[in-house]
């Protein structure tokens, strides 16, 4: 069985968000980069667990980006995975990125492709679905549990106001949310092994990006909190009712 895990590089969750060059680029000075948490904690770890049950499985990692992504792929290798691909490009349009992953996926014919449910920077939640369409595969989004029995996957997914359990035949694309796996910390053996795992840098296939970011803006900060005395709860209710008009 062959599994592909899509990995994205994102700023650490505690990063200060700021922009530069006329608000056209993310200000990355002093920013710690991490594996997108959904890609790591859920998608990658679940793939590793599947391989632990079925040692003949192979796990490929893929990321689309510049050389600055390599350390992130090495971090992912420290947790697990056998081989990696980096498609060498800076483009960030979801169709463009999914097309790059689709090109590698078509070469290698994976049984299972995992993505995180979204990246914590762009919040697109679009690579998995786009990829599934390009590959003409079934797509389960926002999976919270994933079990495999032969070629049949049993997946629990979020729906509005609850969850749904479904069975699907491989091959399949799954976007992973909280619940699919538990976070792990890499061990020393993993960290040592990560250095020598094969990481292929490949040129992008010719695809046109369909969108581009014009600029960014920060969310306006709150103008200041209005404090209400602890012995005057009625005043808070009045403010919410008359001023904010939310109750």
């Amino acid at each position: 069985m062959k599994i592909l895990v899509c990995i994205s590089k994102t700023p650490d969750t505690t990063s200060k968000i700021a922009f530069k060059n006329g608000n056209t680029q993310f200000e990355d000075a002093g920013v710690q980069w991490i594996i997108n948490p959904y890609d790591e904690w859920y998608a990658l770890i679940r793939a590793i667990e599947l391989k632990e049950k079925n040692p003949t499985a192979t796990i490929h990692l893929i990321s689309v980006g510049g050389a600055d992504v390599d350390p992130i792929l090495r971090k992912a290798f420290a947790l697990g995975g056998d081989e990696g691909y980096r498609v060498d490009t800076d483009n960030s349009d979801s169709y463009y990125i999914a097309s790059q992953i689709a090109a590698i996926a078509t070469q290698n014919q994976y049984d299972l492709i995992f993505t995180g449910k979204e990246t914590i920077d762009y919040n697109g939640s679009s690579i998995g679905g786009t990829l599934a369409e390009l590959l003409n595969l079934p797509f389960i989004s926002l999976a919270t549990k994933f079990e495999l029995e032969g070629q049949t996957a049993t997946v629990t997914r979020e729906i509005d106001g609850g969850e749904e359990v479904a069975t699907v035949q491989l091959p399949l694309v799954v976007s992973c949310a909280k619940g699919v796996a538990e976070q792990r910390i890499p061990n020393m053996r993993g960290i040592m092994a990560a250095r020598t795992k094969p990481l292929k840098v490949v040129a992008p296939v010719a695809v046109e990006a369909l969108t581009s970011v014009v600029n960014y803006e920060l969310r306006p900060t709150k103008t200041g909190v209005k404090m209400v005395a602890a012995d005057n709860v009625a005043e808070l209710v009045r403010l919410l009712h008359e001023e904010a008009k939310v109750i």
Binding site: P11, T13, T14, I17, F19, P37, Y38, W41, D93, S94, Y95, A98, I120, N123, S125, S126, G128, G129, T130, A132, E133, P138, F139, I140, S141, L142, E158, D160, G161, G162, E163, E164, V165, A166, T167, V168, K178, G179, A209, L210, T211, S212, V213, V214, N215, Y216, L218, K222, V225, K226, M227, V228, A230, V233, L236, V237, L239, A244, V246, I247
Partner: protein
């Protein structure tokens, strides 16, 4: 040329987010001077002609048993076929569970530029630019779409529902429905609770509540406001509350009209899940809690005293 609005349904009823989307899609159609039309997959008991009130001129209904559960492949094929058949140039979805599964596939099928998490009407002054939330609500990106066909997924609770007079034409449409690849075997609905994603008001508790046995005051306050209940990550991790209540960076990201945080200090990861709320109230005994900086209203004090008083005062409001 038209705007095609995908109406998401659950149990035969059009969802609340679909009404926001009708208003949003109809407003885009007005901006562009083109028709606003909607599509529903499967049977619904909602009065579709009455959706004209929200500015839509026509509602296409595609009947079929294959739409009972969301199979992204089946839904995307159907919506794309409808879009092509009716000549839609802009297709809009809610950025909810269904939208996240279906919209990117539709965009890929139509080779349309796709913007998800949109939070405002497009700007046509320089091409086709859509504003979306990024960095978990901490910022926005203005995204230019370069293709003749466009797919947009709108954040729930980010566009005001607008009502006027109007009756829509309901037009059945027949298209070939693709065979399903996903077999749904079980559906677990959380009954009796207001779904977090659709709630106008959310009451949320943190570690300051000291233990699961103290959640009664949160539930009472929530019920007095017809609100959903939520919690911070440490609370979910300690299994005081179920994981589906966890809001924050790695839990649910919500955007209610009112978010009341009780005993939550306001770590940056928590704020990332709630900073799209219109009004934030923070109740915390620590005056230095960082959450106060992100709040609109605050009370410093003991939650166990303040929350029951708050519930009583709200009940008085009727």
């Amino acid at each position: 040329m038209s705007v095609l609005i995908f109406l998401d349904q659950a149990d035969g009823q059009i969802k609340k987010s679909a009404y926001e989307l009708l208003s949003y899609g109809s407003s885009i159609a007005k901006q562009k001077g083109i028709a606003a039309e909607a599509v529903v997959l499967g049977n619904v008991s909602t009065d579709l002609a009455a959706l004209g009130k929200y500015g839509v001129q026509k509602v296409y209904i595609v009947d079929g048993a294959g739409f009972q559960h969301v199979d992204a492949q089946v839904y995307a094929a159907a919506v794309s076929d409808v879009a092509t058949q009716v000549g839609a140039s802009i297709v809009v979805f809610s950025h909810n569970q269904t939208g996240k599964a279906v919209a990117p596939r539709v965009a890929a099928r139509l080779k349309a530029g796709y913007v998800s998490g949109a939070c405002a009407l497009p700007d046509f002054s320089n091409g086709f630019v859509v504003k979306k939330t990024v960095f978990s609500g901490k910022a926005f990106a203005n995204v230019q779409i370069h293709t003749p066909i466009v797919v947009i997924a709108l954040n729930p609770n980010s566009y005001q529902i607008q009502e006027a007079d109007g009756v829509a034409i309901v037009a059945p449409l027949s298209i070939a429905v693709a065979p399903a690849s996903i077999q749904v075997t079980k559906v677990n609905k959380v009954s009796g609770e207001i779904p977090l994603a659709e709630a106008d008001i959310v009451v949320s508790g943190g570690r300051g509540l000291k233990g699961p046995e103290n959640w009664g005051i949160i539930e009472d306050l929530a019920s007095s406001l017809h609100a959903a209940t939520a919690c911070s990550r440490p609370v979910a991790d300690a299994h005081w509350r179920p994981h589906h209540e966890h809001v924050g960076q790695t839990g649910f990201q919500i955007a209610p009209n009112l978010y009341i945080a009780i005993g939550i200090s306001g770590a940056i990861q928590h704020l990332a899940g709630v900073n799209r709320s219109k009004v934030i109230v923070v109740i915390n005994k620590d005056p230095e809690a960082p959450f106060f900086k992100a709040a609109d209203y605050g009370i410093v004090g003991d939650a166990f005293e303040i929350v029951p008083q708050l519930t009583a005062a709200i009940k008085k409001l009727g």
